[in-house]
């Protein structure tokens, strides 16, 4: 019996939402391959915090709470995950393609000497073989692959694989001791700075409102922020306004920024350069507000409004706020 190893990312001792996504994707693959799912949790775990993961189809949840793993370190966490993977005859080891997952999966793959596929959006089992789909060139093209190895390490793009509980599933939680070479834990996180009042990160947001050059002035981004607030969205930006210094680079959506897949993406005053479209065209619903009816953003928009962003966006905010109060 082979196993799918699902890395369940923790933050401050609690599972992040991507942990459930990875468990659910692992369960689907395991069903296709006739395998079992082992969830791996590394680092401090709050009392009872693993309970919310037990119903997602895993057979076992394995917690590694070594004293040297209290803060995240690529090398320490990689040693822990590699040790579990090597001892559990895996068919695949799955990570979220989060900040931690991308960093860690690369170390783990190199450590165990198995191929890596990152930021995948499609996982299928066909004829008993795992087929993996991932966007390349920022989503301009889509690659489907198979693995020419006994197993592989795979990271999954957040917000693509839906978390689904499995009827009757009840994973056991066990604690596992690992032997770490502490002389090889050389880069350590000494401090975590969360932005105060920060909303959900762009890569994990259900709603995003992005502004571009059509906002005309950095001060006009207050319009974007108010629209975002009205629907509980995270603020994004086009490369043009990031390069102009209007917004921080962490807000940038597109090929040299973040790739996002929200339920609703509102593009305000963004023309839709190919490198921007690459980063957001997998959004479920896209709204575009732009004065140029020929702007490429309208080619991907579910709903388009041709008009001055500085007038239409505040009217939209007002209408949404009014609708909410009714």
């Amino acid at each position: 019996m082979s196993n799918i190893i699902a890395f369940c990312e923790l933050k401050q001792g609690k599972p992040r939402s991507v942990a459930k996504e990875v468990l659910s994707a692992s369960y689907q693959v395991a069903q296709g391959l006739g395998a079992k799912v082992i969830g791996v949790l590394v680092g401090p775990l709050a009392d009872g915090a693993a309970d919310e993961l037990t119903s997602f189809g895993a057979d076992r949840l394995v917690h590694i709470g070594h004293s040297s793993l209290e803060a995240y370190s690529t090398e320490g966490y990689a040693q822990a995950v590699a040790e579990v993977a090597n001892s559990e005859s895996p068919a695949a080891v799955l990570f979220p393609a989060s900040a931690m997952g991308k960093d860690l999966s690369a170390r783990v793959a190199a450590k165990v000497g198995r191929p890596l596929l990152t930021d995948c959006t499609e996982l299928k089992v066909e004829d008993g073989r795992l087929k993996i789909g991932r966007p390349i060139y920022a989503g301009k093209v889509f690659m489907k692959s198979a693995i020419a190895s006994d197993w592989a390490v795979i990271s999954l793009r957040p917000k693509i694989f839906q978390p689904q509980t499995v009827d009757g599933a009840s994973a056991t939680l066990e604690t596992r001791e690992v032997t770490l070479d502490e002389s090889k834990i050389r880069a350590k996180v000494v401090e975590v700075k969360q932005e105060s009042g920060a909303t959900v990160d762009l890569t994990e947001a259900d709603f995003i409102v992005s502004g571009g050059r059509g906002m005309k002035d950095p001060n006009n981004f207050v319009i974007i922020e108010e629209l975002a607030k009205s629907i509980g969205a995270t603020v994004g930006a086009s490369r043009a306004v990031v390069d102009a210094g209007w917004r921080p680079h962490s807000d940038q959506v597109g090929q040299t920024g973040k790739t996002v897949s929200p339920t609703l993406y509102v593009a305000v005053g963004i023309s839709g350069a190919v490198q921007h479209l690459a980063g957001m065209s997998s959004s479920k619903i896209i709204v575009a507000i732009n004065k140029d009816p020929e702007a490429p953003i309208f080619k991907v928009a579910t709903y388009g409004v041709v008009g001055d962003a500085l007038k239409v966006a505040p009217a939209l905010t007002e209408a949404i706020n009014k609708a909410k109060s009714e």
């Binding site: 880069a187 975590v192 040299t256 709903y303």
Partner: protein
């Protein structure tokens, strides 16, 4: 003197329209403008700034690729890198194979610090840098937006969801650069002239087979056709109605 290695890649311009080849097995890269990977620009700039601060440092740029690598290396040399190493070969879509080739090429080169971009904007794996570090048995910090090196100690700020992590380590180490690390400069005319005289060493790439088998490369799934709801603020009520009743997202 601090020795810095730069791992660079040549990629298709981010503005380029990318299409699959007619057999659906590869990417059509004819008539495409190739550039130095944008994230690698931040790595090069950081190396230049470290040298300016320290007064001296040796900067060596390593590029694994076909003949397009020469242009990438000349760009780095024009910016002020001292010399180039061209690892001749064709990287695949298997990041571990690429990392093994790079690690084999640089393992006997002296270095204190390796810098590269956080990802190449073609296969978007965002993995090769960290893999090279593991293969060379050195620590790494990825997706770095602030880097401070003093007396062999390294303090790096890496971007995470909604915040940052401060990571401490020591040289030798590998750092992957994220946008925001610095503001890359343009090459000067003097730099471009000087670059022509700087040496580029050629090495044959170690033959590492890809273990990622391409089934197909195609266009992304097409989006269902959208519609223009209307013009100006008059269209707002209908837009809100559609978002609530049709799309059911509000």
């Amino acid at each position: 003197m601090l020795k810095i290695l730069l791992l660079l890649k040549t990629v298709a311009d981010s503005e380029a329209s990318i299409r699959p080849t007619s057999d659906g097995k590869a990417v059509n890269l004819s008539d495409i403008n190739f550039i130095l990977n944008p994230y690698d620009e931040y790595a090069v700039e950081e190396a230049l700034q470290i040298r300016e601060k320290a007064g001296e440092a040796e900067l060596v740029a390593v590029c694994y690729g076909d003949d397009t690598a020469t242009k990438t290396l000349r760009t780095a040399l024009a910016l002020g890198v001292d010399r180039g190493v061209h690892i001749k070969g064709q990287p695949t879509f298997d990041p571990l194979a690429t990392a093994k080739t790079l690690a084999a090429a640089v393992k006997d080169m002296p270095f204190d610090l390796i810098l590269c971009g956080k990802q190449a904007i073609d296969d978007d794996s965002a993995a090769v840098g960290v893999m090279v570090a593991e293969l060379l048995d050195i620590p790494s910090v990825s997706v770095v937006v602030d880097l401070d090196i003093a007396d062999g100690k390294v303090k790096a700020t890496r971007e995470i969801e909604g915040g940052h992590e401060i990571v401490e380590t020591a040289l030798p180490c590998l750092v992957t650069a994220q946008k925001g690390l610095n503001e890359p400069r343009y090459p000067s005319l003097k730099g471009i002239m000087a670059a022509k005289k700087k040496p580029i060493e050629e090495l044959e790439a170690a033959a590492i087979e890809s273990r990622i088998e391409t089934i197909s490369i195609g266009l992304p799934p097409a989006r269902p056709a959208g519609r223009i709801v209307g013009e100006g603020v008059e269209a707002v009520p209908e837009l809100v109605r559609l978002l609530k009743q049709e799309a059911k997202v509000l």
